[in-house]
Symmetry: C2
Subunit: 450 residues, 2 copies
């Protein structure tokens, strides 16, 4: 049994839904379908979920919201017309919105219910469409599917008991179309995951039914080994391990959130990234383990927006608890850190820039000076991190040499190298302005000069 | 005014003391002389301090200790005879030992008093010898010099008020010979620094009198850029900064303990390492700042006996406080750590092997599993750290590339690279068996191929 999840661009309009139907029809194992809300049809378009957020916002402000609602209805109406389906769903949406705005729930719960309308309506439409094509399909509400979530509107978490319930889906024989992004609390209240939550639903359902494969349909043929905005027509990755995916997605790989995959990872369900617009392409497989490779590096990722907090104190390494007390201050101030490279008498803490506003900076520096009495403390902003990732990396003596040579050839100074903590990656810190040059040079060295 | 400190090999016998006297006589600025106890005269010899420790040990065990005392007396007698000095000192030693063993002090204090006899007697002998050569010299007891220490026998610390007192020495005109290694508590009790404490005395006195130069006489012409036991006839370092010295001495540079230099560093007193056996050689200057250099790396150091504690947990970097809690456990168990390289979901802690006995290891692993619930935790033993050090390092784009190439050429795999936390060093972790090969290759790349 396969679980196939179709993202926003795959269900953006009737034309896309026809492709989706073809994909479902072409493989009898595709039994469980998870869908997003319709995404953008072109770059100027607005996603249905954003239209729904606007609708909720208008309500929150006490403004008229007829126009916002109409825009949502229009999107679905265009789809229904082209697919020659009944327009009952449109009426449902309008009734439902009215009901939500008039029920006694708190605002956060109301807004979650509004946001979920996109996925929910699309799932209904797709199942009707499949039936109209003669397939044995039906819409399955997340409550029926067994998605029981914690009572945290907008950022709900799956509860462990769900998986056993979800497994019941394997008893059914028809194609089940489940809307992504939301579920229900034990008390029966609709709550959503965080944004992008359809991926989470897909991964949870795949884990629950112990699928043979979790297919994640998107609009690219596969995952590229480097950001295509930095390197033109980069190589495709045919196979990745979970660990590699996780490290790559940490720094700028935006195929999907690594977190979304945790449930599938835990059950060791293989994941395949495929293209709705080119379903014949092989796609990228994400697996638990892969065969030995003669390739040290599978991907290069980069991300900007980091700062480094540098603290030095003579004989720091003799002071038991120094590092811990520094991290304590950060924790106290609600700052999570990324890395803590340390020297003999120096410690740097790498933090995402958005975690350290200028106000926070002043507080943190002040506390460090007062509580740790360092010789030096300063902040370096505008740093970029570049990661090269590959399970095969550690069996090649020359990987570090190759990588550092690439930076030298790009004339980019290394502010930081962090290798050895992770078994599948090597991390480099540089000034933001060198990031494009450095990534291009790394691509040349690892993917073109072989 | 210069403060000159002579180490154990420089005062091992009469022949050496003649060299010392020449050195003192040759420069009128050498006003304050700090001496160690006589060291080894040849590789089979025993240092006087070790003889004194044996003496104390015999006393502690309630055994006869005449023989141990006699060996101490014999060492000094040989010196006195060859220098044609009165033997009063020998009688003093015997009386003093008897007095110490019979006083009412606790054992630790008695043992400190015994250990201090080596430096104290040698200082008396040297001052008499200088006088016999016609110099205006005298022995100055550390109490008179102003060395007031905390009441921690065997590991006493200098008290801040000492420096003002020590500064009074500048008022005197004669050559003052001060025994190293010990001082007195406020209550007048003799206490010693930790082993190697003559270096500490020298540095403290140099800081107190705000010397123009602190000369540290030893038995090498200068500091070498790499361990001569690994690379034959390596290049000498003519000038080092405090920071460079500190990083080098952390990993296997045994010229002296970096801690000993702190008082001098704080007062920015330049330090010169010189050779008693070849005082004409330029030596190595250790300074606060040095001129711009076209040399990225000044030295390579290496040390073995490290372990790495590896902890991984999926989504670790989202868990605020994870790293802090790990360090907390180590602190709780009295383990100080050296470095904490971290990946996305991984954290390694580098610890000196002697800090982590197998018993401690079991406790620590158990606590980590219970309190942090990681996915993986394991210990890697038998690691070596190699540091390349140089203030100029960061202005050279290619330093990391050069270094990693050296490891590749030596066919040594890099377990860890840590660069960027310290501004003057780059650290590499490898398996112990590769250390010689790797250091030789680094030497070739940084010191021979230029």
């Amino acid at each position: 049994m396969k679980v196939a999840k179709f993202g926003g661009s795959s269900v953006a309009n009737a034309e896309q839904l026809k492709k989706v139907a073809n994909i479902i029809q072409s493989d009898a194992d595709r039994k469980i379908i998870v869908v997003s809300a319709p995404g953008k049809r072109n770059s100027d378009d607005i996603k249905v979920t954003d239209l729904l957020i606007d609708l909720g916002e208008a309500y929150r402000l006490g403004q008229s919201h007829e126009q916002e609602l109409q825009r949502v209805v229009d999107r679905f109406e265009a789809i229904l017309e082209e697919l020659h389906l009944s327009k009952d769903v449109l009426h449902d949406i309008q009734t439902r919105v009215r009901k939500i705005f008039n029920d006694g729930n708190d605002l956060a719960t109301k807004l979650d219910a509004i946001k979920a309308i996109g996925e929910d309506s699309l799932a209904k439409i797709l199942s009707e469409y499949l039936v109209s094509l003669g397939m044995h399909a039906r819409y399955v509400n997340p409550k029926e599917a067994g998605l029981i979530l914690s009572d945290q509107p907008g950022s709900a978490q799956i509860l462990d008991e769900s998986f056993k319930l979800i497994h019941q889906l394997t008893k059914h024989d028809e194609i089940m179309v489940i809307p992504g992004f939301f579920g229900y609390t034990k008390e029966g209240k609709l709550v959503t995951f965080s944004r992008g939550g359809s991926d989470i639903t897909g991964s949870i359902v795949a884990a629950g039914v112990k699928a043979d494969l979790y297919e994640n349909f998107t609009d690219v043929d596969s995952v590229y080994c480097v950001n295509p905005q930095i390197v033109k027509n980069p190589k495709e990755i045919t196979s990745l391990t979970y660990k590699e995916m996780r490290e790559l997605s940490y720094a700028g790989f935006s195929v999907f959130h690594a977190e979304a995959l945790i449930p599938a990872f835990k059950e060791r369900i293989p994941v395949c990234i495929k293209n709705t617009n080119n379903p014949g392409a092989k796609g990228t497989m994400i697996v638990n383990e892969k065969a030995e490779t003669n390739q040290a590096v599978v991907g290069i990722a980069s991300d900007t927006g980091f700062v480094s907090l540098y603290v030095s104190k003579y004989l720091m390494n003799r002071e038991i608890g120094f590092g811990r007390r520094l991290l304590n201050i950060l924790e106290d101030e609600g700052i999570s850190f990324e890395h803590t490279p340390s020297g003999i008498d120096d410690l740097s803490v790498i933090i995402r820039e958005n975690q350290l506003t200028e106000e926070k900076e002043a507080i943190v520096i002040n506390r460090i000076n007062k509580e740790l009495k360092p010789d030096t403390v300063y902040i370096d902003r505008r740093l970029a991190l570049i990661m090269i990732v590959g399970e095969g990396m550690h069996s090649f003596v020359g990987t570090a040499a190759k990588a550092t040579k690439a930076f030298e050839e790009a004339d980019v100074n290394l502010e930081m190298i962090n290798q050895g903590s992770s078994e599948v990656s090597m991390m480099f810190g540089i000034k933001e302005e060198g990031v494009k040059r450095a990534v291009q040079s790394l691509y040349r060295v690892f993917f073109e000069e072989n």
